[in-house]
Symmetry: C2
Subunit: 150 residues, 2 copies
């Protein structure tokens, strides 16, 4: 594990919370001159073990990914609640939401980052990996997402 708290300097993803994924994905597709990517819905909590503020949550999300050169743009439409994505939509409307970094050793990383003003708000699994949303808004001005791919 790197000796720095985050363990990497490389942002790999930017997330935007949207109200209607199909509409926003179509707008970005035209803007960038690329096809609309496949739209996916996150899997149920039994598979993702999605945890919001220490409790399992049935909230899902509809997702689409565009490649913007070296980083991925993730469009996220929250489905159900509670989730940090739904919180963001409620408090700020459509908006830039997170910047993501890829890490190794999620559990150790989360412990270190909690000491640096980045507590976990939500975490869960996806096929082939896991994610965590860290609340860095007060100290860093942004939600930071960690991604660990196996």
């Amino acid at each position: 594990m790197s000796s720095t708290p985050l363990g990497t300097h490389t942002v790999t993803q930017i997330g935007i919370i949207v109200r209607n994924l199909e509409e926003t994905a179509q707008a970005w597709s035209r803007l960038l001159g690329v096809p609309i990517p496949k739209i996916i819905v996150t899997e149920p909590v039994e598979l993702t073990h999605a945890d919001y503020q220490g409790q399992p949550t049935p909230a899902l999300a509809k997702l689409a990914f565009f490649q913007l050169g070296p980083v991925t743009l993730e469009l996220i439409e929250p489905i159900g609640e509670p989730s940090t994505c739904q919180d963001q939509l409620g408090s700020h409307g459509q908006s830039l939401y997170h910047i993501a970094f890829e890490v190794k050793g999620m559990a150790e990383r989360l412990a270190v980052l909690a000491e640096h003003g980045l507590p976990v708000v939500q975490h869960g699994d996806y096929r082939g990996g896991r994610y965590a949303y860290l609340d860095g808004q007060q100290k860093y001005g942004a939600i930071v997402e960690l991604l660990e791919n196996d």
Copy 2:
């Protein structure tokens, strides 16, 4: 000029609006394990020709730039008003603010993008180039910045 509206797929910068640049820059510096970058203040309107909603604006901003792998993280503390940065701080507090793309032919690009739901809110010059903030929040979920370096 590329035939796509944006003319590029490559995001080059992510911006965060902060309340206290020195504090936030110090936090990011520790998180990333890098030195605090030089903090600069934008030049006066006589030099930048800063224009907000069609009128010259005396608003300035304090800036610091971190390199996050392939993209630059720009921390922005608004100084004075009116500006889109001050609007963001007032409406959303510390928050992710913009994603930026580098373009060529700013004037032509702005005309094309206005037709695609990206009207200019603020624009101005800096040494060696110019910028424009486009209000894409309704259609794209984010403020898009264009940068043109000579």
